[in-house]
């Protein structure tokens, strides 16, 4: 193969929707979604281990939670990515974010963006999770500061808020 042919195989243009915004990037096959998201400026997606042990880089890919460090950017082509900043902000906070703030669920805060996205996926699947469901739903996300208890209680509170929103809408 010529050099040119090699390059055509190893790099590809991919379109990814990130938090509703279309992004077009050219990336080699081996680059992870984590690297690409951070290069695009999405520094809220944290890197803790680069091998799927810690969950700090968790995002939603077409609504399902993935470790972006284990997802190749090519595999996100044509798909939609949601990070914690896409979930909400000060002006449109998601009930999970409001609950994390009010329950004091963030200490150092490094696991928080991934933790919240795992929680979002959990509540999408199971709107009324038991404590056991929550523990299982977060089992891929490590936290070293909090002992998780305030993360659990925030998720329970957010689930309740979301259920109330459901019934009033």
């Amino acid at each position: 193969m010529t050099d040119k042919e090699t390059q055509m195989i190893t790099e590809k243009r991919v379109d990814i929707q990130v938090n509703g915004q279309a992004c077009e990037i050219t990336v080699p096959a081996w680059r992870t979604l984590l690297e690409v998201l951070r290069e695009l400026g999405h520094k809220e997606v944290k890197c803790g281990c680069e091998k799927g042990d810690c969950g700090a880089c968790a995002v939603l890919l077409d609504g399902k939670v993935v470790d972006s460090c284990l997802t190749l950017a090519w595999n996100a082509a044509g798909r939609s990515v949601t990070t914690v900043q896409g979930l909400g902000g000060p002006d449109n906070a998601h009930p999970l974010q409001t609950a994390f703030i009010e329950h004091g669920s963030a200490q150092c805060g490094y696991c928080t963006p991934g933790m919240i996205m795992a929680a979002k996926a959990l509540l999408d699947d199971i709107p009324e999770p038991s404590l056991k469901d929550i523990k299982r739903g977060l089992s891929g996300n490590l936290c070293r500061c909090t002992g998780y208890t305030r993360i659990f209680s925030a998720i329970q509170a957010a689930a309740e808020t979301l259920r109330q929103q459901e019934t009033t809408s």
């Binding site: 810690c54 914690v84 919240i116 996300n141």
Partner: protein, 775 residues
């Protein structure tokens, strides 16, 4: 969002409006919305990526280091080895921070020269266009090693004829305590109980690996923005590379967990060298596997207690031997050993006491600071021994504790008189009561309850002569600013300063802005270590805010024609206490001050109590400012077929003096419960001939969400501490008793004590089999 409504919360705080309440921390929203910036998130135009080559031998001569192939790689800007470094004696690894006292000035080579002493020692640095090129360059560095004999056990290191790694005899530090008459004490004893306890390496496993960015700015100042617990490292960087102190500026970002692992310098000096050599901004984010090699884990300890007790459970004599594995460099090992020595008798009064402690150098990973700093290991032995004494005497172990608890006014290990409240009994009693009834055993599970008390210092060793400065000011619109170089490592360090200032100046805490962690523009505050940040910076901030309050009120007093004592501040208003309708908005009050030329700001310094050291022969003297007391209780279920231990309930009860933010205090207790559970049951860095076998988060297992028991924090407030409003330090203290309580609960469940942490299923099964065979 910060509703102040719950009367149940902080009931001891009747006259306080914000302090003690579970308010939302000022750093919470930014962390939850994903806008908080950590060192690895920073970028600059033209920024290079760094990578570090760590030794893969534990003990070897460096015959040859050839970087020519790496340097020739396209995209590589510079490769540095020891040969390229300035001729300094390495980088300071001694007690960092805002200290005026003499330290031991221990150092470590910035990069290994001629010889590597541990597996993981840094050898070469690379800066390249991107991380992939930097990694590729590392693989192109050729190293020729000549292996040397190594020592991997501290007892081998201390044996006659051992190869020398450190000093003349591999002794990194040693202490002696000689108190009372030990012979007489043992003669008076009815029983003598002797046991040896061992603990393992524990990794901090903060979620954010080491990260920093360095560049030289337009004023020829070397800037470093880093994930660090210590802003004052700018001095050590400057000294190591031969720059004046005022040409290095270190700024600490939000730290994604420290736990002591970001106390001693990690990567900052490497980046400083690369930035100077390349004249480009350089960033390093350590990959997780190299993070394991870049700080220093908790020291393994071997601890022997020989205790003389009377028939009624009173300790008559105690002889303790402590040995810790320092690894290849001293780092903070001397101080950690001192903490272990002072903490060796726990919260108990022992009048006839001998302690001999030693820290030995080996070719293992250099161990360093980790939450508890030696005290928690020492406490594990002490509290395990309490259970063994109680078992021998057929007494309740809490009763044995009660007969020996230290009280306010008693002298501790080093003869220091305890001045603050000692609520060990209340804490332990409440924690145990909260465990409630025991579930019944099943055919394969055994339930156990365990408790442990502790004594843990807060604040620096007195002869470090510690101080902290803080600046508080009011803007013309009545908003408030705090400036303090305190680092915010996740426990709410900056938020607490907002809450204290808000209390004093009558401003809602979320309207106070805290500029923190900048060695150039915020007054230096010392480290966020040693459970000192709130104690020291909280006091300095309270002093500064109080002076500002006084200045403001003096102007208002003149305006209203009243005395200062007749005025109070709340909701950004100054009002007359007996006539609250007569008030003035804070912003108008500031204008009064401005018109009269009165300072609307203040810079304060808080100085901790000092001493000149301890007597080397007896170990007597004042070592710490004060101590925190409390207890942890655990309920466990042990599966006697698999050996698996499951923690069901984990209750921490602590006298925190005064909570500043109740929710943040509870968060510390809860987090410590799970971290301590990891130390007790599953966490262990395993080294084989100095080589790390568990160097990733898939091999080094910390507790996950599925391991979380029912955790509860009980917060007691004696208001007897040296911190602001009578607060005591809590970051380390709340962690000190956790592992011991779980170990004691396991012993209670299976009827046999396991003296070696972590208590893995294999050890449980082995203990059960040995128990069976001795029946």
């Amino acid at each position: 969002m910060n509703r102040i409504e719950s009367p149940a919360a902080g009931t001891a705080n009747l006259q306080l409006r914000q302090v003690g309440k579970p308010l939302v921390r000022t750093d919470s929203p930014t962390k939850v919305y994903g806008t908080a910036v950590y060192a690895g998130d920073l970028t600059m135009p033209g920024m290079l990526c760094a990578a570090v080559l760590h030794s893969d031998r534990a003990s070897a001569l460096l015959r040859h280091v050839d970087t020519s192939r790496a340097e020739a790689l396209a995209g590589v800007h510079c490769v540095l080895t020891a040969a390229d470094l300035p001729p300094s004696q390495g980088v300071m690894t001694d007690m960092p921070g805002q200290t005026g006292g003499l330290t031991k000035n221990t150092k470590q080579p910035i990069l290994a020269k001629d010889r590597v002493r541990f597996c993981g020692e840094p050898i070469a640095l690379v800066a390249a266009e991107n991380a992939a090129i930097a990694e590729q360059a590392l693989r192109l560095i050729d190293i020729e090693y000549e292996d040397l004999d190594g020592i991997y056990d501290p007892f081998d290191a201390l044996a006659p004829g051992a190869p020398i790694i450190f000093g003349d005899d591999n002794v990194v530090a040693s202490y002696k305590v000689r108190k009372g008459d030990i012979e007489k004490g043992f003669a008076e004893a009815d029983f003598i109980v002797e046991n040896t306890f061992t603990t393992q390496y524990q990794e901090q496993a903060f979620l954010e690996p080491e990260a920093a960015l360095a560049w030289v700015d337009e004023h020829e100042v070397l800037n470093i923005r880093s994930s660090t617990q210590v802003v004052e490292h700018y001095r050590a960087v400057a000294d190591a590379i031969g720059l004046p102190h005022n040409r290095v500026r270190l700024r600490a970002e939000f730290v994604g967990g420290g736990f002591g692992g970001k106390e001693v310098m990690t990567i900052e000096v490497w980046l400083a060298l690369l930035a100077l050599a390349s004249r480009r901004p350089v960033q390093l984010v350590q990959p997780r596997e190299r993070s394991f090699l870049s700080h220093g884990p908790r020291h393994p300890f071997t601890m022997t207690h020989r205790t003389g007790v009377s028939g009624d459970g009173k300790i008559t004599a105690l002889q303790i031997k402590l040995t810790s594995d320092a690894g290849a460099y001293a780092k903070l090992s001397p101080y950690i050993l001192l903490y272990a020595t002072v903490g060796a008798t726990g919260p108990y009064r022992v009048d006839n006491l001998h302690i001999d402690s030693v820290s030995a150098a080996t070719n293992n990973l250099p161990a360093c600071a980790f939450r508890g700093f030696g005290t928690m290991q020492a406490n594990l032995a002490c509290e395990g021994q309490m259970e063994e004494i109680a078992k021998l005497l057929g007494m309740d172990s809490m009763e044995v504790r009660r007969r020996n608890f230290i009280h306010t006014g008693d002298a501790n290990v080093t003869g220091q008189i305890i001045r603050s409240a000692v609520w060990s009994d209340q804490c332990a009693t409440q924690a145990l009561a909260t465990l409630g009834e025991r579930p019944t055993d099943t055919q394969t599970t055994r339930i156990g309850h365990g408790v442990a008390c502790y004594q843990q210092s807060y604040g620096r060793i007195r002869w470090m002569k510690d101080s902290s400065e803080a600046w508080v000011g009011v803007e013309m619109d009545g908003t408030v600013i705090v400036r303090s170089a305190v680092t915010d490592i996740g426990a709410g360090q900056s938020s607490a300063l907002a809450q204290i200032t808000g209390e004093i100046l009558g401003v809602p805490m979320d309207q106070v802005v805290v500029y923190f962690g900048d060695g150039a523009v915020t007054p230096l505050a010392g480290t966020s270590t040693a459970s000192r940040a709130l104690y020291m910076s909280g006091n300095a901030t309270k002093m500064a805010a109080s002076q500002v309050r006084k200045n403001l009120l003096s102007c208002v007093a003149g305006y209203f024609g009243v005395k200062i004592e007749q005025l109070d501040m709340c909701d950004s208003q100054v009002f007359i206490i007996d006539d609250p309708q007569r008030s003035i908005a804070l912003k108008d009050c500031v204008k009064l001050c401005a018109a009269e030329g009165v300072h609307r700001h203040n810079l304060a310094i808080f100085r901790a109590p000092t001493s000149e050291g301890i007597d080397p022969e007896t170990g007597q003297g004042e070592v710490f400012p004060d101590f925190t007391y409390g207890a942890h209780a655990a309920q466990v279920a042990v599966d006697i077929e698999t050996g698996e231990v499951k923690v069901l309930k984990s209750i921490g009860a602590h006298d925190v003096g005064q909570a500043i933010n109740l929710r943040a205090v509870e968060g510390q207790v809860e987090g410590s419960a799970l971290m301590g559970q990891g130390f007790a049951l599953c966490e262990e860095l395993i080294l084989k001939q100095g080589r790390l076998q568990t160097g990733s988060l898939s091999e080094y297992l910390i507790p996950t969400s599925e391991d979380v028991p029912e955790i509860k924090a009980i917060v007691l407030e004696s208001r007897s501490g040296l911190g602001p409003f009578g607060a005591k330090g809590i970051g380390e203290p709340v962690y000190a008793p956790v592992a011991a309580s779980i170990a004691n609960a396991v012993a209670d469940a299976i009827g046999v004590h396991i003296f070696e942490l972590p208590i893995t299923p294999e050890k449980v099964i082995k203990a059960l089999r040995e128990k069976e065979s001795t029946k």
